[in-house]
């Protein structure tokens, strides 16, 4: 509209003004047989070889007379767009397009020669695997879509685009498999994303927090993963993924509590091993939450519980400790948290040294100085180990934090305090939802058939049905009967 009233002002000048005379904005004039053409682009955002070979060279060779239409038709570039609206032009220039303006016409063509900042594909860092595919998502949305399409070549795979962020626009893709994912869930995701009214979303993890059902909960409500195989596995089981530009982690929803304790390795290993590993992981988590509170409760209130032989050992190791058990436990837990946090902040090379100094030297010295008992060192290290077995970094952190209030409850009311903590925890988990779906599924609401997806593993032929909790449209993966068919002995 603007162009109509301000006819005298040229598009090119307006664009230059609109971009606040950015020093990167380059204007290249070409003249062919008296026809003036201007090329506008931001020099850091375009691919220079493509600009030279595809754009400049071919403009030199195009038949005269030059019009926006002929350029658009003949230029060897994928994305082309004839346009004279200044706002659209500037929006595209920022993304690395070139605007070719035919000055006589006051019209021009937008050409996509952008080059995004990108790193090469690497191994997954936060979710490390021993076994199975190693590739991980990167910060580029288009690369991520490419990886995903590579993994799932079902034509029912939908990748819907949405733009989030009023000021700093962020392309987001909702991916799901059309005939498996629950349409209600898809609708909820779309609605929540479109209702977001923010100026800027920094990362997918920030987006996940904005989508949370219960923002005051300690537990993460969406699974974040950087593993393409995990995403494709989840999609095929009826979940929905949200890919976010500039972020290597993908949001998977709806999520249940137990999916935070699954790894893709569970699927790749034989079912016997992965069942054992899963159970072990669960025990690790329980240890991590409850072991040090139990120590505090028993030592403070319930000496009777400890068999006399053991009591002797404990008494001996605690004989030099001047503090009450709570203080001792909190002190050591705090120390371990410090170690972990320092290790996470430091560069890897220094980090190792610090691990040795902190872990071995400090621990030994604390016992020698009579600050803590040996037993508690074992307990605290065990519970730290337990929390590290959580495959999800977010869940592991949540569990480590969870320990502190329970230690305090144990110090206040002993074992009853711990049980009160358990009650609160149960109620809280029951109240939680992810995308409006129960968080504690398949335990409550109880879905027996889904237990094989979350708590244990079974041989492959039992996975003929997709998980019910995801409310999939297409329930069966393959026919149960066919998988049971056995030939006769000697056939």
């Amino acid at each position: 509209m603007k162009t109509m009233f301000l006819k005298k002002k040229k598009i090119v000048d307006e664009v230059i003004e609109k971009l606040y005379r950015s020093p990167d904005l380059t204007r290249r004039r070409i003249e062919r047989n008296g026809q003036k053409i201007s090329l506008l682009f931001l020099k850091n955002l375009v691919n220079p070889t493509q600009l030279q070979q595809s754009v400049l060279q071919s403009i030199q060779n195009i038949e005269l007379p030059l019009t926006a239409a002929t350029i658009a038709k003949t230029i060897p570039i994928g994305q082309v767009h004839i346009c004279q609206d200044v706002d659209i032009i500037t929006a595209h220039l920022i993304e690395g397009w070139v605007y070719v303006c035919v000055e006589q016409e006051q019209n021009g063509v937008l050409l996509n020669v952008s080059e995004k900042v990108e790193r090469s594909l690497e191994k997954a860092e936060t979710e490390s695997l021993v076994f199975g595919p190693k590739i991980s998502f990167t910060e580029s949305l288009s690369t991520n879509i490419r990886i995903l399409r590579n993994n799932v070549n079902d034509e029912q795979l939908v990748t819907e685009e949405m733009i989030i962020g009023k000021r700093n626009k962020l392309p987001v893709r909702i991916v799901y498999i059309q005939d498996i994912a629950d349409p209600d869930n898809v609708q909820t995701v779309k609605q929540r994303l479109s209702e977001l009214d923010v100026d800027d979303v920094t990362d997918s993890s920030v987006l996940a927090q904005m989508l949370d059902d219960h923002s005051f909960s300690i537990f993460p409500q969406y699974l974040m993963t950087e593993l393409p195989d995990r995403l494709s596995y989840s999609l095929l089981k009826g979940r929905i993924g949200i890919l976010v530009d500039r972020s290597p982690t993908v949001i998977i929803c709806p999520t249940t509590f137990f999916s935070f304790f699954e790894t893709t390795e569970d699927i790749y290993l034989r079912w016997t091993m992965s069942t054992v590993l899963r159970v072990m992981r669960m025990l690790g988590i329980l240890t991590s939450i409850f072991l040090s509170p139990i120590y505090v409760a028993v030592i403070t209130y319930h000496y009777e519980l400890i068999p006399s032989d053991l009591l002797l050992t404990i008494g001996e190791s605690r004989s030099r400790v001047p503090f009450p058990p709570v203080l001792e436990a909190l002190l050591l837990e705090f120390m371990i948290e410090l170690l972990r946090e320092a290790g996470a902040r430091l560069p890897t090379k220094v980090g190792q040294t610090m691990g040795i100094v902190g872990g071995i030297v400090l621990g030994q010295a604390a016992v020698d100085a009579g600050f803590t008992s040996n037993l508690l060192i074992i307990i605290v290290s065990l519970s730290a180990l337990g929390s590290f077995t959580a495959p999800s970094y977010e869940m592991g952190t949540a569990i480590r934090i969870l320990r502190f209030p329970i230690i305090i409850l144990a110090a206040m009311w002993g074992l009853i305090g711990i049980i009160i903590g358990i009650c609160v925890l149960i109620v809280h988990l029951l109240k939680l939802t992810s995308l409006g779906r129960p968080y504690l599924s398949p335990i409550y609401p109880f879905r027996f058939a889904d237990l094989k997806y979350s708590l244990v593993r079974l041989p492959q032929q039992f996975y003929y049905k997709r998980p019910i909790s995801n409310r999939v449209q297409n329930k069966y993966r393959f026919s149960w009967k066919d998988s049971k068919k056995r030939k006769d002995l000697d056939e």
């Binding site: 319930h302 068999p307 009853i416 009160i420 609160v424 109620v427």
Partner: protein, 363 residues
């Protein structure tokens, strides 16, 4: 009023857990002595008889609820007795539920104080339980109550396995001679068992929230059967484990039996059991308070979330007015009588009234 929204409906199998967990509570810990005093070595038969009685009453309750379109006790009362008397009956029922709630909280806190923390103030203990209930129900409702009873059931059911540990000291001869109790002794034994069996009357309130109503009876019966089985087992084990004289003075027989259970890392298992028992009574508390708020909604048109706070405060004041041990026991006994009336006698009358009223309506 009885029509709940589609999404809050519960799967029918949950009735099993709702009925069972609301029945099992404090009673099973100490009921053996009470029955034994009345029916001697035939105590376990008294338990079975009262169990059968509960099966019958469950059937009557389901019949009553299915008879008309009014599918919970509060609307049934107004239907049968009219507005005024119906409201009075509803108030009585709410009062019973609230007193039952208070008696559970008091009983548990008293046990904890006796065994573990003699210095802890009783009111503080009750307050903690009440706050826990409020936390569970606020924003949760029946879905939460059902979830709590389902999960806590599986968190505590393994204790049953440990019940067999004391059996290596069992003297099975204690059970003989069978059927020595006179009918009146037996009747008193049955009566004493009823307090332990209470809780199934929650069905009157839960019923409209169940998805497949025609299957409710079946699952409720399974729940009751399991309860009866557990209490019978606990009674039999107590009879064979203790000598008769010993049992007569053992207030918490189940707990005392568990003193036998030993692991290489835990001595005195009963000290674990008492805290764990919180998980057993927690669904009781949640369910009864939930039922009370439903009643408040029916009678006073009080929103459940406000009723929750009001009735919790009321329960707390009732609780602290029974601060002494003796009064607590008396209070619990009184609630037991009240409960006997409401749960074991009243269903028959209500059923008859509903039938009569229905016939009148038709004419």
């Amino acid at each position: 009023m009885g029509i709940a929204k589609e999404r809050t409906l519960l799967n029918v199998y949950l009735v099993m857990f709702l009925v069972h967990t609301s029945q099992i509570g404090l009673g099973i810990i100490g009921v053996q002595r009470v029955i034994f005093v009345e029916a001697k070595q035939d105590a376990w038969i008294a338990v079975i008889i009262s169990g059968l009685l509960v099966h019958l009453i469950i059937w009557i309750i389901c019949k009553t609820l299915q008879a008309t379109e009014h599918d919970d006790i509060f609307s049934l009362h107004t239907f049968v007795y009219g507005k005024t008397i119906g409201a009075v009956m509803n108030l009585l029922f709410i009062a019973y539920l609230l007193l039952a709630y208070t008696s559970i909280a008091l009983g548990y806190v008293e046990m904890v104080l006796t065994w573990m923390y003699p210095d802890f103030p009783l009111s503080g203990g009750v307050l903690i339980l009440i706050v826990l209930t409020i936390y569970a129900l606020y924003g949760g409702g029946i879905r939460l109550a059902a979830g709590v009873s389902f999960i806590t059931f599986f968190l505590t059911i393994w204790i049953v396995v440990l019940m067999f540990a004391p059996l290596k000291y069992a003297e099975w001869i204690h059970l003989l001679p069978i059927l020595e109790a006179t009918p009146s002794q037996m009747a008193r034994g049955v009566f004493k068992t009823t307090y332990t069996m209470l809780g199934f009357e929650i069905l009157y309130v839960v019923y409209p929230f169940i998805k497949e109503k025609e299957k409710v009876l079946k699952f409720a019966q399974i729940g009751v059967f399991f309860t009866t089985f557990l209490i019978t087992a606990a009674t039999v084990f107590a009879i064979v484990f203790f000598s008769p004289k010993q049992l007569e003075v053992t207030i918490w027989a189940s707990l005392s039996m568990f003193t036998i259970v030993k692991f290489s890392f835990i001595e005195r298992f009963e000290y674990v059991l008492i805290p764990l028992w919180l998980l057993v009574i927690f669904p009781n508390l949640v369910l009864f308070m939930w039922a009370v708020t439903r009643g408040g909604k029916a009678v006073f048109h009080l929103k459940q979330k406000y009723g929750l706070f009001f009735f919790s405060a009321l329960a707390f004041f009732i609780a602290i007015s029974f601060a002494k041990r003796a009064t607590i026991n008396e209070f619990i006994d009184q609630v037991g009588y009240y409960g006997f009336g409401f749960s074991f006698v009243y269903p028959f009358f209500l059923y008859t009234f509903v039938k009569i009223k229905k016939r009148f309506r038709k004419r």
